[in-house]
Symmetry: C2
Subunit: 338 residues, 2 copies
DNA sequence: CTGAAAGCGCTTACAG
DNA sequence: CTGAAAGCGCTTACAG
């Protein structure tokens, strides 16, 4: 059976297609009685608006793309929910794609979205992404906002203020009396560099900081392996700082397994304050990097960008917040070295 | 500047639009030299295929919808990743939406996808969903597969075998010597009923089972509140079984805070085996309900369904697997009652 | 294997 | 406020 179209509706209601079209879009320029007749016809015929066809004509799709590496870090699940909420309210439907930090996959995903004429894209760039990687978006003038990782260029970007987050944690640990800390896990990204930079600044010169080249995926397994590498290298700091909470959770388990008691015999902290981090034993000290605010700002920046010029400000840095819990709060220096 | 279309490409290559169209779709019916000339033109002009326009003509969109309540449970993040992987490989792009267990939001989300002519939808139905709620999908003949929660009808469905999962856990706890267990958390859903049913069967008649009407959202906070309600009601079982792992993580914290040591003084278990559960202290005993397999089966069932009749089998139950960890593995009966 | 024409379902000027 | 015509960018028969 053929699809019911706007032409069928207009005939049934005794008006032209143009009029019916205005009614479905809620135009006030149609007489109320006419509009009512059209709406009746819609119900009687079981008509469903074909936004895809409308979009072809209007050359916009009312869809947005959200592309990230993966969801194994709940931070991105939280961000996704906030982003989806805000754009859904504006009538947009969301395309989603996961690059798994693979450049080919990222290219295919972005192309697929561009071919479907997305109106805009929020992207967490995969490792190794360059400005050139984004040519498929730029050549079609698809407004793009980066989040969490930036490329160093002037492209619109939303993220936590990672330098500030690192500094807060560094200051906290120093004030506890930590004299030796190590940083582990994460990938070689802008946000990792920024967190380390802040940590160094916050801890100050009195604190010895080990920055072994120990990277890891954002998983508990990755965290456990990272801290094992650290300990196997003979490094036993007062405090371990993990690149993020998921990694810190893995560090936590590995420390327990080695007979260390996080929060007592060794301090432990992460970044992000994923909701699940408060449900850890011991409760995990962390710096909230505002998943929901980042998602919301991405939506706001992108929506403001649509059909217009790149927005000002082009960079939004969310203010982090230190959340002190038992994983550092109970730790005390083993002995005074002064 | 106007968009580069297939007409521009065909002119530039000296062929007709139809021929150019065949080339972009990789048809073998075009002479190789002609095809090469067209491909050159595409590159030279910077042409981008407009799949949205193609889809209008073909009346299919090469998009699928994945609709669930939310991502606060990592189980659904894992499922999403697996589903996305498989459908991406088949050339589909994914629309996503979160209902937050709200029927209105679910209706709006499904309508938005239907208006955009999705080829198929995988849905975790919000609480209160009836067959009638799915009329927007059915009236447009959008193939639909349910997951995690079913409606009792014959609609295609993928989920874990929750009865079996409950039974495994019940048998495990009984074999440990647990004589009194309580089940807490979760919503009033098909999967909760099934888990409870299996648990009762597995534990047998010798085990006293408390099923207080304590429901909760899938969050650590929800879990902490649920177990507090239990304990405040004066119930102190040998073992607490939570509806899922996220809730169990909250139970874990609340038990510690009350001076109970999960895994020692009280046994604790959940369901799902979310990846992060292994990174708990103590390690959480759970029944894996196969997030990735569920996602994969959803993709397979839905793709098989597209353009054809509803698939057989219409129901796929993934086999669960018991994962014993310290949260029950270290527990021993306090005294013999025989 | 290639080309001219019609059509997917809508919206957009332009007359009236 | 309403209607007839053209067009969004593609694909699909149908001739050749």
């Amino acid at each position: 059976m053929p699809r019911v179209t706007l032409l069928d509706v207009s005939r049934h209601a005794g008006v032209s297609r143009a009029t019916a079209s205005l009614v479905v879009r809620g135009s006030p320029r149609v007489a109320p009685t006419t509009a009512a007749r059209v709406r009746e016809a819609i119900v009687e015929l079981g008509y469903v608006y074909d936004r895809a066809a409308a979009n072809l004509r209007q050359s916009r799709s009312m869809t947005l793309g959200l592309v990230m590496t993966d969801l194994s870090n709940p931070f991105f699940a939280e961000l996704t929910m906030a982003f989806e909420h805000d754009v859904h309210e504006q009538g947009y439907t969301l395309f989603i794609g996961y690059t798994r930090d693979d450049l080919d996959r990222q290219a295919r995903t972005l192309s697929a979205m561009v071919e479907r004429r997305v109106d805009g894209v929020c992207l967490l760039p995969a490792l190794g992404t360059t400005e050139a990687s984004l040519a498929p978006l730029d050549s079609q003038h698809v407004p793009t906002v980066l989040f969490t990782r930036h490329l160093g260029g002037g492209r619109p970007y939303v993220g936590a203020d990672n330098v500030s987050a690192g500094r807060m944690l560094g200051e906290h640990l120093r004030s506890l009396g930590v004299r030796h800390l190590a940083f582990v896990g994460g990938q070689e990204t802008s946000s990792r560099r920024e967190r380390v930079e802040g940590l160094l600044a916050g801890a100050g010169d009195d604190v010895r900081i080990d920055l072994p080249p120990i990277y890891s995926p954002s998983s508990t397994v990755g965290g456990a392996q990272a801290v094992s590498q650290l300990l196997d290298a003979g490094i036993l700091p007062d405090a371990v700082v993990a690149y993020n909470d998921v990694i810190a959770m893995g560090v936590n388990v590995a420390l327990w397994e080695r007979g260390l008691e996080p929060g007592r015999s060794i301090a432990l902290a992460g970044f992000d304050d994923i909701r699940i981090a408060a449900g850890q034993v011991p409760g995990l000290t962390t710096v909230a990097t505002r998943s929901e605010e980042v998602g919301r700002s991405c939506a706001e920046l992108l929506l403001g960008y649509l059909g217009g010029e790149p927005p000002a400000p082009r960079t939004v840095l969310e203010e982090p917040e230190l959340r002190i819990r038992a994983s550092t709060g109970l730790w005390r220096p083993r002995m005074e070295t002064s």
